[in-house]
Symmetry: D2
Subunit: 413 residues, 4 copies
């Protein structure tokens, strides 16, 4: 008989809906040893959260996140709130002995992130609990295939990385002022929201860390219409918005040069003003033996080029939908593509596997944990300081080898 574990979700907007789908579908695809129960969902609006519970499959709803954290029948607290609430909820949950899954970026600031990572370490020592940060794109099959290729030495010595995360939902100067554009709520703009994904993937795929950055950030449109409530990413300009406009207090775009451990160099760019790009998280790694390229808008594909003298050398477009590919065995036959939300299903599958693991510490570990989230936050912080000081700034990551522990395995792809 499978062991069961209760999940409490805080937040039921965009991310809350995506996480709900993951909890609802993980059993069908992965048959985990620990089976999640959708115990309770929490939100600020009583009617809204009750309706969400019914629609998204949660047994109960509440407006008090402290009630979620305290419940004995909740073993995992899933934090999908705006950034301003991450630290308080996650820390309370960790202190209550719960496993935590927290959306990214981990925090609004480096100080907050350090506090959260410290608490997670203490909780792990005390309770053996996991604290995972929601860099879900690590678990897209094409990305995980890429990581295995790099970790096995397939691309040789890394020379270049080129990463960007391009969106265009702010091109309209009358797009409303959502919480994502307010510094006290979000911490930063494109930087924390999407550059964080690009930086995490860079470090995760390359197995190296960003050691220094030279960056600029910019805000193209400085005021926007204020709507009555907080609007999510999907919201469109409403004709009902008043004449009132409020200040945009975060960056619209962030660009930087990066140095990684070893001799590798690269660029990272994030923007919400990249007209024509909807969700273009693109990462390319050029090595001495091969190159690898990924684009989130075509997330079922991975492109690989191998150096060779063969006249048929070329960029190979791999349709990453074979049963042998990562995460695919439980889904569909070859060519039956997955969608964006599947990355969350894989995320919670791995969290459940870690919770259910027995034996070695390695089997029991799950990444990205709060320490990985903190590593990204150090880069975000360095980027902000570089942009402000108009100079190169070291991230403090790396030291001797500047290689991350999470990607040094040598598993054959």
């Amino acid at each position: 008989m499978a062991r069961r574990i209760g999940v409490g979700l805080v937040g039921y907007s965009f991310m809350g809906r995506a996480h709900s789908a993951a909890w609802r579908n993980v059993v069908a695809a992965f048959d985990p040893a620990v089976v999640p129960e959708l115990t309770v969902v929490c939100g600020r609006d009583p009617a809204g959260v009750a309706a969400a519970a019914s629609r998204l499959g949660w047994s109960e709803s509440t407006t008090d996140w402290r009630r979620v954290v305290e419940r004995d029948d909740v073993g995992i607290v899933d934090v999908c709130t705006p950034g301003a609430a991450h630290a308080e909820i996650a820390i309370a949950a960790l202190r209550a002995g719960k496993h935590v899954l927290c959306e990214k970026p981990l925090a609004r600031s480096l100080a907050e992130a350090e506090e959260m990572a410290g608490e997670a370490a203490r909780a792990h020592d005390r309770f053996g609990t996991h604290a995972m940060v929601g860099f879900n794109y690590r678990r897209i099959p094409a990305v995980e295939l890429a990581r295995r290729l790099v970790a096995s030495g397939h691309i040789g010595e890394l020379r270049h990385v080129r990463a960007c995360y391009l969106q265009d939902w702010l091109v309209d100067p009358d797009a409303p002022l959502s919480w994502r554009l307010v510094r006290s709520e979000a911490g930063s703009g494109a930087l924390g929201d999407i550059a964080s994904h690009a930086i995490d993937l860079l470090q995760h795929l390359s197995g190296s860390v960003v050691t220094a950055v030279s960056a600029l950030t910019t805000t193209f449109v400085s005021t926007r219409p204020v709507s009555s409530g907080v609007a999510g990413l999907a919201s469109r300009p409403s004709r009902e918005l008043g004449a009132s406009r409020g200040p945009v207090s975060v960056d619209d775009a962030a660009l930087c040069l990066v140095r990684l451990g070893g001799a590798a160099v690269g660029t990272v760019e994030a923007s919400r003003f990249a007209t024509g790009h909807k969700n273009a998280l693109r990462v390319e790694l050029n090595g001495s033996r091969a190159s690898i390229a990924f684009d989130l808008e075509r997330l079922n594909e991975l492109e690989v080029y191998e150096v060779g003298t063969d006249p048929t050398a070329g960029w190979r477009r791999i349709l990453v939908t074979e049963p042998e590919h990562p995460y695919l065995a439980g889904w569909w036959p070859p060519g039956h593509v997955l969608g964006w939300e599947h990355s969350f299903t894989h995320e919670v599958a791995d969290l459940l596997a870690a919770i259910g693991a027995t034996g070695s510490a390695e089997a029991h570990a799950v990444h990205p944990d709060f320490a990985d989230g903190l590593a990204v936050q150090r880069v975000l912080d360095a980027i902000e300081r570089s942009a402000l000081s108009q100079s190169w700034v070291e991230t403090g990551l790396g030291g001797a080898g500047a290689h991350l522990g999470t990607s040094t395995d040598n598993e054959e792809p």
Copy 2:
């Protein structure tokens, strides 16, 4: 309070799993007026179906499909069995006053399909029930966007259609002999399994019917290893297969020239030996004013070319993920792509909407119904007769106008 309706699923293999995901997720994405309950799942192996019930989210399991059809708490019978069982189960369910969703192709033969369509018409008159056939690709957002464009006159007069459905899972001559390769089980091979989708899309998108065909079918590998059980599409050659081989009694590939109503002409090709293509259902329509192209391996995209004197005329790649696009409002923000299985969620959403509709017959109708399934079957039958006789064969569809009723709306895209 939403009305609830019980669903009974027959078959829990590939299609059964996909339909289960649809029933499990439709409420979160579409909030239908009629809410499905996952009442019972049926399969031949008692332990297998019980495990499937638990994993896929069904309340009960059974090995007797007649028990499913008879239950008062089942309002929809969903037939996901191999083709040999379609007619018997669907007809019994229709006679019991149930709504039916039946996988494609509707039947193994034209005679069976005619019987089923006749029964569906009688049931509709008697009970007001729906009989839908599972041409799920109609409900991929890019396909529905294409249909609206064509129906609104966007492409002008149709000249060419080019449709293919290319897979390569039989290229290995030692891939096992699954039920899909046995005539008595499946009716035909690539023809019924995948050409049927291409033909349905051609007729659905163009709003015309195939009036005549010249075809060839071929079987490249005539015997295959026999495994103990019936193996699904996803199965890979197993080293445990004995030396025993059995005859492949269906086509591996089917190619045909088609004439449609009006002056339009085209080609249809289906193959399980198209090396390198995993699930390449591609349809292109060339009209006097524009062309449209779709590829299932990149199902979030639609390509459109409009005739013009503008020097920027070109093929436009539309990322069909905007809230304004068909079926998208309940999912994610722009650029957050959907997967293959979402087509089933949209299918059951529309079936539930039709069941819950009040008012006009139009609102209450849902396509593709068994009559649409029969129209495809007439083309499949003509193709088999053409291949056998090596001559042009008329499908019997069309008559005067040769335009299907289902696509003549003029809704603006």
Copy 3:
């Protein structure tokens, strides 16, 4: 000291300009043992041909093609006229002991083509002269790379071919009635003009012949404005065209199913009404071990997919611009792409090499010769008869093995 040979060009329109560029540039790129002199160009309009001579680099001009054929200082006669003049000029040149390069399709009819091929064989016996037909696309580097791969066994046993040549320059119903739309001038329409290329490539690449066809041809627009002169492909509808319209006496599109030697089957489609396609000659071959795909609109690229159990299997886009690739050594560094007209430069380079060759008959041979042109004409003829009779028609090619002699080499790519 290089041997020199005089060239006489008949026709200075589209094809004449392209051939002129080839003769003008072949020495720089290929340094042939036999160096061409641009001796004389011939056309019907005295002023026009004189201006063309000056602009295109020819030493003299004339309006009498018989004067070209008779000249002692002309060793190669290059026939770039409309189809109606091919046979008479080519035969006269062959009888005068000249090498002949004749544009495709070889003739307006099978009878003409047979006469020309017979004359070429007699001339070869008598004078040792070459008679080449202008299927220039054989000499695009990506196409020749593909041929070598197939000939070396790379794709294994051939199963499917899929070839089309799609253009859209007749979509406008007021595009003028050029000589290409008049049966007495051109023989046929899309069939002879562009399907001929697709068929030649199919046979050339596969090393097999088309043994039987089932075809349809169609004419979408039956009358077109008559202009005063004959207009070439590049001509656009002119507002000066009178109200007078004349009949289109050729096909606008031709579609067919083909059987090749062995078990292979396929489709061929040619159209001048494929909206959005400008010059899309696409050929794909699916074999038991690999697939190959080519598209003339991206002529520097070849796509290859190899069957394998490697998780990185995928379609590889080869940028065919390396010095090791066919024809590339004399051009530019990798990634510096070639254009359409280079195929003609390669064509005349190979003709000059054959003329200058010493030693074996093999070294001395050059393809496609008039026999190859006749083989294509047999398929064109069968397609027309099939479309007329609405039945399968055998081409007469093949016989026992149905493999062409020209492609059975085993040269490693």
Copy 4:
């Protein structure tokens, strides 16, 4: 009767061959009012340059460039030498009253470039001669179409630029030490050779200048095998190379952040170690109304995305081969693609047109002139200083408006 002008070419290697093709073909495609004579080619090796003259179409050869500059029958001196010889030859030619076409980058250093630009200005005042620098990519039809779109306001306010020029011919650590890797010969590495093209296109397309940069440069492989002669880009590692290795004294890659006039920001990256990229000059501009993207490996295509509420908004792939497109009227019908070398033909066509122009100074002007070449050199110099100082460096370009005069026209595309 057309006016004729003699051309003297200095250098007959890679660039000399490309320029020769341009001079040889410009009359056929453009019928210029001033017709070039291929008078003399100059190189250091007597036998080599004599053979080149014969093969490339030049009437005479010489080993003394001063003899070229002095000849009365030479009106245009075309400088295709390594960078070390640019200044001396170009200045001598300008002083002798010749028009000059000089390959890029203009010079090895800012000081040299300033001297050359000053001399060009004086020569223009004194003789009315032109001094053009060979940023040939401005004259690819897709690039010129892009420029016209931007200049007409099509993309609105510029926000982002993203430019890179990626090659991989140095990935092999045993690729030989060519003159391009020696600072005294080339000035810099990837920076001057290819970043210069990217920077020129950025400024040319956007109509703005780069005002400040933050950059890094790097050399991945510090020593390489020395061959007896100087080897060009196309050279491959030879097994005949001795054991001797020499120092690479230039950058292998250069990356920078850029600020342009206005609020626009961007990245520029150039590398010879970008595994898998052969000649990938890619430029993308994101504006408030549209985006534009170009890739030299597919140089016949331009991609454009226009902001809109239309559900068919998407990236449009324009095949830039229509007669209405820039430079295309003299070439082939639609879809018959051009190659890399055509950009040089267009370059000399425009130079000849300017030489032959009568009337206004505007008609007589031709860009990029040496002042444009100097503007690029200022950015290259700022990048080198930024990389050295690890700080932001201003280029000195811009001032008040920071808009270049050459792109402010409002011509409708």
